[in-house]
């Protein structure tokens, strides 16, 4: 019996496809997410919009909070660790968290390295802005990838940018010789073995979700149209006027992303979306995606 193998980790990620993973900060919100049809919840101390507003150092959530959320729902519970924070990751693994997000939304703990994810039984998801970043995270053992976008902004433009760049770079691999791959790998900072795998499959070898700034059913549909296997919604649900209604609408939109009639129906009368932020108005040093 093999536990925590790469196949068991990536296989689990395949089960999320077509689904919505929602940030929650309380057991009550977790129940709302489950009832709305979320495929998993992300247990957090604060949603990204509040982390951005609060400033300071953002850390792993209180284990007490994570346990409360685990007790409240039957769907998988994910949680975030700071980039490179091996000890936080071990704590989450010990708590039985189902998936760890090594996330730029929290304040990075290691200025040099990401976590060596091969050393863990629990699977990890990591953010990326381009193919180089995706390939590096995969070579470190990430079992799932997501775009970084710009979390807590309610502005989808960065998630779109990262998905477009990723798609474009994957397309460029087709037809490259080994020598060309090696050179391109150097340019991207990507391990050539991972690029070979991506070239062979014409896609990332792991599930790829979209995250960062998704606030409406149409945003979720847009990311699916661009090839995302599913979406993470952070602040977009519980910072909106009617979280229950919006959560259900985003779930349906994620499944029926190519059915404009249905998208029109579910987008109607949702109340105010979360307040949005223009990316140009955020000082460069406060952008989470560069972490």
């Amino acid at each position: 019996m093999e536990k925590g193998t790469y196949r068991v980790k990536t296989g689990f990620a395949e089960m999320f496809k077509g689904g919505v993973i929602m940030d929650v900060t309380t057991a009550e919100q977790a129940r709302v997410a489950e009832e709305a049809g979320a495929v998993a919840v992300m247990a957090l101390e604060r949603v990204p919009a509040d982390i951005r507003a609060a400033g300071g150092v953002a850390r792993m959530a209180d284990p007490k909070k994570i346990k409360e959320i685990q007790a409240a729902v039957s769907i998988p519970v994910m949680a975030k660790v700071r980039i490179g924070h091996i000890a936080e990751a071990r704590i989450l693994e010990a708590l039985g968290v189902d998936f760890i997000d090594e996330s730029e939304v929290l304040t990075p703990a290691d200025p040099f390295h990401h976590i060596d994810k091969w050393q863990f039984k629990v699977p990890f998801v990591c953010g990326c802005r381009d193919l180089g970043e995706a390939a590096r995270r995969i070579s470190e053992g990430a079992a799932m990838i997501r775009t970084k976008g710009e979390a807590g902004t309610g502005n989808v433009v960065e998630a779109v940018r990262h998905m477009r760049i990723l798609n474009d770079q994957i397309r460029r691999l087709s037809g490259m010789s080994r020598a060309e791959l090696a050179t391109y790998g150097k340019e991207l900072g990507a391990p050539v073995e991972v690029l070979e795998l991506i070239q062979e499959q014409g896609r990332l070898p792991v599930v790829n979700f979209a995250a960062g700034g998704i606030a409406t059913p149409a945003d979720a549909a847009l990311m699916r149209l661009l090839g995302a296997d599913g979406v993470f919604v952070g602040s977009g649900i519980f910072k909106s006027e009617d979280p229950e209604k919006r959560a259900k609408a985003i779930v349906l939109a994620c499944t029926h992303y190519d059915d404009p009639q249905l998208l029109a129906e579910v987008s109607a009368g949702l109340g105010e979306a979360m307040p949005g932020l223009a990316i140009e108005e955020i000082p460069e040093r406060e952008l989470m995606q560069h972490r």
């Binding site: 093999e2 536990k3 068991v8 496809k17 709305a36 049809g37 499944t255």
Partner: protein, 186 residues
């Protein structure tokens, strides 16, 4: 032969790939009209609550339930097994309820306890099996045949042309369980 794969959420692509390898035509099922002319349907792995909530709201649950009650052959893996079970011991609802078994959701525990192993299936021999937060069968009705066990726990069952497994044969590269299902669809 056209076999549907319920495509509201889950590992749809993996099932379609196996069906393709076996020479069947796979069809993602998202809307009621996709049910027409199917010889059978696969209910994939994923989250059973999510799949059910989506189907209940977009209008697919009713016609699919009707088709299952009228005898459409079906194969549920993991969440798909939960969707087909008559009773769920640790959840207040039941979903399609067409196979006379009681299952416990997430009975193998959290993801750190998920595992890959080999199970011995009747007529198929040793089959590689991936169990992910898997349901286990706690009660088996009289018309239900147990095809494979893990220890003393039933993990693959058949009731007429309805098949269900706790595990994911679609993640292993071994096509025999699907082949067995296609024979039930003929």
């Amino acid at each position: 032969m056209t076999i549907g794969v319920l495509a509201v959420q889950g590992d749809v692509r993996e099932h379609l790939r196996v069906l393709d390898r076996l020479g069947a035509t796979g069809r993602p099922v998202l809307r009621p009209e996709h049910l027409h002319g199917l010889a059978g349907i696969v209910l994939p792995g994923g989250e059973s609550t999510a799949m059910w909530r989506i189907m209940a709201r977009d209008g697919l649950a009713e016609p699919l339930g009707q088709a299952l009650r009228e005898g459409l052959p079906a194969f549920g893996t993991c969440a798909g097994m939960v969707l087909l079970a008559r009773e769920i011991t640790n959840w207040p609802e039941r979903f399609f309820g067409v196979i006379d078994i009681a299952v416990e959701r997430n009975a193998t525990g959290r993801q750190v306890d998920s595992f890959a192993t080999v199970v011995s299936a009747d007529g198929l021999g040793e089959v590689p099996a991936v169990f992910i937060r898997a349901p286990l069968v706690r009660r088996v009705g009289s018309g239900v045949e147990v095809l494979a066990r893990l220890g003393d726990q039933p993990v693959m069952v058949r009731q007429g042309s309805l098949l269900a497994s706790s595990f994911h044969p679609e993640l292993t590269g071994d096509v025999r369980v699907h082949e067995y299902f296609l024979a039930l669809c003929r």
